[in-house]
């Protein structure tokens, strides 16, 4: 997947300024970086939620996207999944996989933050997408739920061979999940490469400085 150069400016401030990128098809790409580095802006542009300063992307309208703030609609948990057009049986199977089957008939507004995140991830994985964009999908989950969600996501990716853009603050998650890593800082792409190389032997001092915080 070849992306053209992406820039995004808010109120005269350039929050994203990326060169043309090549994202290998059928690979999970982890996007890492500190707060305000432009990760979510990139995710929202790729998903077509906001427009870049110029240009557009071929997958707009086809990409599955889970925003940073998980949202559950005011209806039963199972109905939330059925919004995608799936039947009840399929929705129940998905809830079972995410450990939410016992809450199927409950109003989704009564779910905890972690349960809402699981529901949101379950919902976006109901359909097969050529491109999947996930903005910190497991940040609100407990460790067991996060690991289970990662497993389901890996199974989904292996089955659909989709390209995944995974925004994460967890370096361990990036190691477990991603084949490629993109490190952003202040809206710029500092480093891109294979996960092991970027996280263990970064070429840039800025990447090393960022990673050092995770080993303190």
């Amino acid at each position: 997947m070849n992306l053209p150069p992406i820039t995004k400016t808010y109120g005269g401030r350039r929050v994203l300024d990326l060169p043309a990128l090549e994202l290998a098809d059928g690979t999970i790409h982890a996007v890492i970086g500190a707060n305000g580095s432009g990760k979510s802006t990139l995710a929202r542009i790729l998903a077509g939620v906001i427009k870049p300063d110029q240009g557009s992307f071929p997958y707009v309208g086809q990409a599955g996207y889970m925003p940073q703030r998980s949202y559950s609609f005011r209806m039963s948990v199972v109905r939330n999944l059925q919004l995608t057009g799936a039947g009840r049986e399929r929705a129940m199977a998905q809830l079972e996989a995410f450990g939410l089957a016992g809450l199927a008939r409950q109003n989704a507004k009564g779910l905890s933050g972690g349960e809402t995140a699981r529901l949101a991830l379950a919902r976006v994985l109901m359909e097969d997408h050529p491109l999947l964009i996930l903005d910190e999908p497991t940040a609100a989950m407990d460790v067991a739920s996060a690991l289970r969600s990662e497993e389901i996501l890996l199974e989904y990716q292996a089955r659909t061979r989709c390209t995944v853009v995974l925004v994460t603050h967890s370096m361990t998650q990036a190691r477990r999940m991603a084949g490629q890593v993109l490190f952003l800082k202040d809206g710029r792409l500092v480093e891109q490469g294979e996960t092991g190389q970027v996280l263990s032997h970064p070429r840039c001092a800025e990447t090393q400085a960022f990673l050092d915080f995770y080993t303190l």
Partner: protein, 200 residues
């Protein structure tokens, strides 16, 4: 009359508020400012405008609405629609971005996103209705000008309270005030029960 005007105002004001709240394009701020200005419309001004429109020399004189309950309902609707629309707009503006982003990520179209937005605003719908109902109950300026407070025809409780007060009959005025308050309490309790039922 109060029920008719508040229900009609809700039917008109709520969709307007949802549309205004979910709209994020150019001119939104100006539209919000205009609506907020209309929320503060003095009832006597609405009464005066309606009076001029419906009176014998007004452009709508052929409708014969002056000194009728229908005319009073219209005056109240003009007062209530911006209030209900403003209340809905304030709520929808805060929830719309998250709903729109989530719906977009699910590949839902604009129509379904709008339906979801309305579904997510059901509590606010009840609150907005209560706001309109309270205003309609308390309102006296517009209905007295348009209705004329004609006994057994267009004299409503608020205008009757005003008339009895002007005549110095404070006991009757106070009694009517208590009855009005009791009716308002009953209606509000009913709507609150409905609200509570929705939350469960």
């Amino acid at each position: 009359m109060v029920l008719a005007s508040s229900v009609i105002a809700l039917a008109a004001g709520a969709p307007l508020g949802v549309l205004l709240g979910s709209y994020s394009g150019r001119g939104k701020r100006a539209l919000v400012v205009v609506n907020r200005t209309l929320m503060g419309l003095p009832p006597v001004v609405v009464g005066l405008v309606c009076y001029m429109l419906f009176s014998g020399v007004g452009p709508l004189r052929h409708l014969r609405l002056l000194y009728t309950v229908t005319g009073m309902v219209i005056a109240q609707i003009i007062l209530l629609v911006p209030l209900i629309a403003g209340s809905m707009e304030a709520h929808v503006s805060t929830v719309a971005p998250d709903i729109r982003e989530t719906a977009h990520g699910m590949g839902l179209g604009r129509g379904r996103t709008l339906l979801l937005l309305i579904n997510e605003s059901q509590y606010q719908l009840v609150s907005a209705y209560l706001l309109g109902l309270g205003r309609a109950f308390a309102e006296v300026g517009a209905v007295s000008m348009v209705g004329g407070a004609i006994a057994y025809k267009t004299n409503v409780m608020t205008t009757a309270i005003m008339n009895y007060t002007n005549m110095g009959d404070f006991t009757t005025a106070l009694a009517l005030g208590i009855i009005l308050l009791a009716i308002s309490l009953l209606l509000n309790a009913g709507v609150a029960l409905l609200h509570w039922g929705l939350k469960r």
